[in-house]
Structure formats: structure tokens, C-alpha cells
């Protein structure tokens, strides 16, 4: 009897949950939510949060090598922002993790064990100052495309975190543009530096949005996240939107896209392009990319080296 009552209650909660999402209302941390919704959010947001922190690593490599004090201060501010975004998102993830009695310490350990992935784009090497500029311009550009697509997410805390994050991304994009613009308007050597960075980063920029369907890797978050109105566009729609917004700008600077086949098909209203090597992508998401292990090691070492800070913090509680 009590089981029947519980099931009825559950069905009622589910119905009102779906209704609220459909009416565009927000789900909050303490609200009832189906287990699948919670799991999808935890996966998405913990990966997003950890990726902000891991994403700061390739950029921080360029702090000591920035070409002027002004550029150094600019890139330091950006690195600090990325860590701040990590903080925000890990907070959102932690509130969702409460029923499982897990927190950011567990997420960090999941990262070290390889159970929690960080974004595929942050497994790549940065070789020149041109790469530092290109990351700010196009990698952050790609991130802006995916993140603004979720500004209306049904989960309130995530939507609010993204609002803050996207506002700061505007600075990141302009910071990247400023570096690229200086190089693109500079000497022949500087121009070549940008073109070389674009050549090396192009496949990574395509992979950024993930494969078009789950057939490539066997799993994809996109269906569940669209179903629950966390995002609106598919991976391919996001990639197409990136092309539409950025290709004209790339070309306007006199750069060449390293794909001679790429063009906009008017009839299909679609960009036709050469697929990146998705086998490479599969290796990256198994932490076997060019810099996967080096960056994980760096994170591990700094987590251990900074353990004393966390211990010192615990000295006075309230």
C-alpha cells in the first residue's frame, strides 16, 4: 500500500517537474528532480568546472613568456578568471552532489583517476605566443558559442553561473583578438606565427564541439541535455554556428583556413568541411592526447604541494 502511495507521489512530482521546465521556470538545488536530471547535470557541470581549471594550465604556460608587461598582466587576469569559473561551477556541482555525500575533493580525485574527463581542447600543446592569442580568440570563441547556448538552462544555479562566466568571456575574447590583431598586423614572421597557430589548432577547434552523433564514441550527453532543456543546439548546430560567426573574421585578417574543401552550401544552408580525425578525438578523451598526462601530472603535483593551504584554512573554523 505505502509503495503505491510513494509511486503516486513520485509520478506527481515528475509531472510537475516536467511542467515547470516546459513553462520555462527554473529548477533550484533543493527542488525535487528526477535522478537522471541530477546525473546529467553533475556530469556536465563537474566536467565543465574541472575543464575551466585544466584550461588555465595551457594558458598559464604563457604568463612568464608574454612579450610585454601589459600582455603578461592581461593573460594573468584571464588565467585567474578561468580558475574563478572553476570555483563557481564546482559550487554548483557540489550542491547537486549532496545526496551522494561527495564534494570537490572527490571530483578532483575522479579527475586524477581518469573517471572525470576534462575538455578535449585542453589536451593540446601550445607552442608559440600565436597559440596563446588563438586560444583566447577562437577557443574562447567556441566556448562562448556552447556556453551562451545554455544561458536559458532549466537548472537555475547553472544558468546564473553561466551568466557571470559569459560576461567575463567577453573580456577573454577581446584579449585574444588584441593579441591576434597585433600579430596579424605585424611583421611577416608574426603573420606566419598566426597562420601556423591556426593550422595546428584547426582540427582541435572542430573537435571542440564533439562528434555529430553518439555513433563516434558510443555515448553523448547531447540528447539528454536537450531533452531537459539544459541546452538547445546539437553539437553539429553549434559547430555550424561557430563557422558562420568566425570564418568571415578569420578570412578578413588574410588568414587561410587549412581545409581547401570548406565552403557554405547555399542550398543546404550548411558549411561543408573536412572532418577532423575522430580517432584522435577518441584517444584524447581517454587522456591519451598530446599533453593529457603532463597536465594531469601538473594538477596532481600542485594539488599535493598546496595541501598545506587547505590544512592552514582549517585552523580556525568560524
Amino acid at each position: 500500500m505505502s509503495n503505491v502511495v510513494a509511486l503516486d507521489k513520485e509520478a506527481e512530482l515528475m509531472e510537475s517537474f516536467i511542467q515547470r521546465i516546459e513553462q520555462g521556470k527554473k529548477i533550484e538545488a533543493d527542488d525535487w528532480m528526477p535522478e537522471e536530471y541530477r546525473t546529467v547535470l553533475i556530469k556536465l557541470i563537474s566536467m565543465h568546472g574541472i575543464s575551466e581549471i585544466m584550461g588555465a594550465l595551457p594558458e598559464k604556460e604563457w604568463v612568464p613568456k608574454a612579450p610585454s608587461l601589459y600582455r603578461k598582466l592581461g593573460i594573468m587576469a584571464k588565467v585567474q578568471d578561468e580558475m574563478g569559473h572553476g570555483q563557481l561551477l564546482l559550487r554548483v556541482a557540489e550542491d547537486l552532489l549532496k545526496p551522494y555525500e561527495k564534494d570537490r575533493g572527490d571530483l578532483m580525485n575522479d579527475l586524477f583517476k581518469g573517471d572525470l574527463k576534462f575538455h578535449n581542447v585542453f589536451h593540446m600543446a601550445t607552442e608559440t605566443w600565436g597559440d596563446a592569442g588563438l586560444i583566447g580568440w577562437l577557443v574562447d570563441g567556441a566556448a562562448i558559442i556552447t556556453q551562451t547556448d545554455m544561458l536559458g538552462a532549466s537548472y537555475g544555479p547553472y544558468a546564473r553561473a553561466l551568466q557571470r562566466i559569459c560576461a567575463e568571456e567577453v573580456f577573454h575574447a577581446q584579449h585574444g583578438e588584441a593579441i591576434i590583431m597585433a600579430l596579424a598586423e605585424g611583421t611577416e614572421e608574426q603573420k606566419e606565427m598566426v597562420q601556423d597557430a591556426l593550422n595546428r589548432w584547426w582540427p582541435a577547434l572542430l573537435m571542440f564541439f564533439g562528434p555529430a552523433s553518439k555513433d563516434t564514441t558510443g555515448a553523448s550527453k547531447q540528447d539528454a541535455t536537450i531533452k531537459y532543456q539544459i541546452r538547445t543546439k546539437t553539437n553539429e548546430q553549434l559547430r555550424q554556428s561557430f563557422f558562420t560567426k568566425y570564418i568571415p573574421r578569420i578570412l578578413s585578417l588574410g588568414l587561410t583556413i587549412p581545409d581547401s574543401t570548406i565552403h557554405f552550401d547555399e542550398e543546404q544552408q550548411t558549411w561543408i568541411y573536412q572532418q577532423p580525425d575522430w580517432n584522435e578525438f577518441k584517444k584524447i578523451i581517454k587522456n591519451q592526447g598530446p599533453r593529457s598526462q603532463a597536465r594531469l601530472n601538473l594538477r596532481r603535483t600542485s594539488y599535493e604541494n598546496n595541501a598545506w593551504v587547505r590544512e592552514a584554512l582549517s585552523a580556525r573554523i568560524n
Binding site: G84, R91, D103, R310, E311, L313, R316, N318
Partner: protein, 117 residues
């Protein structure tokens, strides 16, 4: 949290005001061992660019909010026109008859910007 310190962090909600005359606004939450650290973290986490006039940090244990069921009491029936300017909208037409402008909310609040001589 780590190394067995599973509980020393506490959750704080952060509020701040932008200008001396603006109201406090909720920013976000953060983890800190005490209120003093929470203030430092709040500034570091949320106030790196925008002007800020004052900051509050509030431990979550001291916040009494509404749960999902309690929020039902916030639903209103749309029958309280007499509490809103909406219920008095017909005055606009009346005043026009007397060749006077309606003193609506926008008009009345704008008087605060009038300067005494």
C-alpha cells in the same frame, strides 16, 4: 574535504552592492572556513572588475528559505487590482477630460531628480 577534513568548509552566500545608493544583490555562493575568509574569497571570486561598495557574507545555516511545497503560498490570485496602479488606469482618461496629465509612477518618481534652488 580532502585528507579526512571532510567538514571544515562552510557554505556562504555572497551579497554585494555596486554603489552607495543601490540595494544589496545576491552574487553567488562560496566555501570558506569562517566569515573572514569568506569575505576575502568573495572579493577575489566575484568582484574583480565591477565597482563594489560593500559586501555581505551569510552562512547558509542562517538562511531560512522556502522549500518547493512552501513556495505554493506565493502564488497569487489575479483579483487585487485595487492594490495596483492597474486598478486606477481609468483615471488617465478622466484627467484627460480635465485637460490634465496623469501622475503615473514614472512621473512621480522622476520628481526625485528635481533640484531645489
Amino acid at each position: 574535504m580532502v585528507n579526512g577534513n571532510s567538514t571544515f568548509y562552510q557554505e556562504f552566500e555572497v551579497f554585494s552592492k555596486r554603489t552607495p545608493s543601490s540595494a544589496f544583490q545576491h552574487q553567488f555562493s562560496l566555501l570558506a572556513p569562517n566569515a573572514e575568509m569568506a569575505l576575502v574569497m568573495a572579493q577575489e571570486n566575484f568582484m574583480r572588475r565591477e565597482p563594489v561598495e560593500d559586501i555581505w557574507v551569510v552562512n547558509r545555516v542562517n538562511i531560512r528559505g522556502l522549500d518547493q511545497e512552501e513556495k505554493q503560498i506565493l502564488n497569487r490570485i489575479d483579483n487585487k487590482d485595487y492594490r495596483n496602479t492597474k486598478g486606477y488606469g481609468y483615471l488617465k482618461k478622466k484627467w484627460r477630460h480635465y485637460e490634465q496629465k496623469m501622475f503615473d509612477e514614472q512621473e512621480i518618481l522622476s520628481w526625485g531628480k528635481e533640484q531645489g534652488k
